[in-house]
Amino acid sequence: MVFNTGAALLDAIVLAVVSREEEGTYGYKITQDVRKVIDVSESTLYPVLRRLQKDDCLEVYDRQFDGRNRRYYKVTARGMAQLNLYKSEWKIYIRKINAIFEGGVTA
């Protein structure tokens, strides 16, 4: 991607990726899913997950997998609200950008 992904957009993408899994999902999978859409290095995600967890947007729990504990992340109610805020902000944003790019023809 040519465009930079700012902190807020990265938060939004991570929340969206995690929210797709009812039962929650784990670090490696989150990283792979995020990397399908944007070009971030693998080490970018941990601090983001940690921060979202501290902000009560994500909660973690450990679950047995393959004879070991694996840490799962789940979106909290607060995280869901935050994600919805991001989504509506994003709609406004792309509408404006599209208006400039395509002279008023919005998606």
Partner: protein
Amino acid sequence: MSREEYLAELEKLLRELPEEERQAAVQYYADYFEDAGVENEAGVIRELGSPEKVAESIKADYYGREFNESDFEKKDYMETYGRKSSESGTDPDGAGRAKQSGRRAPWTSGKLKLLLIALIAIAVWPVSLAVICVVLGLAAAAVGIFALLVIISAAVMIGGIFVVTTGIALLVIPPGGLIVMGAGILLFVLGLIAAVGSVKLCILVYPAMLRGFVELCRRPFYGKAV
């Protein structure tokens, strides 16, 4: 570097963080390696980058400071694209080298710049000497001017005192003596005001000049101060 070594190194680099914070991070990356699978161990290490970089990204977030990935690997736009297209096949050595040289690049260019400045300064020594002399001279002149203001004010004050004493001596002719005394007191007060003003001005101007001078000197070495 194996996964165990990588995680041990990471834990060591995070020792300044609280236990809980450090454990969470190490656990996350241990999980990460497990989930990536043993066969991808080398790939994960390459993608994550050095333990130093990962540790810094965690610490930066913990302390709420900016983390600049480009400090660790030169990842500007063109290079990312160049590497991405050539790296679609796995080329562990090439990528590793690129990362290493990327890390070293800023350091070298900084040293190089310094050396270059030094060389230029020596090459045009007569000119640079003159410039240094002019700058120092101007600074001295500025310091002198403000000091002079203080001295003049003090002189006016002292002059006022003399006039007052002369006035007292002249009191044998009361009207003349009183006029001279009054003029002396006026002079003294004016001098006092000027002295206080100029001293305040010095307090204001000297540190500012010093800061400006220091800034001027460090500019070539560190770039603009933050």
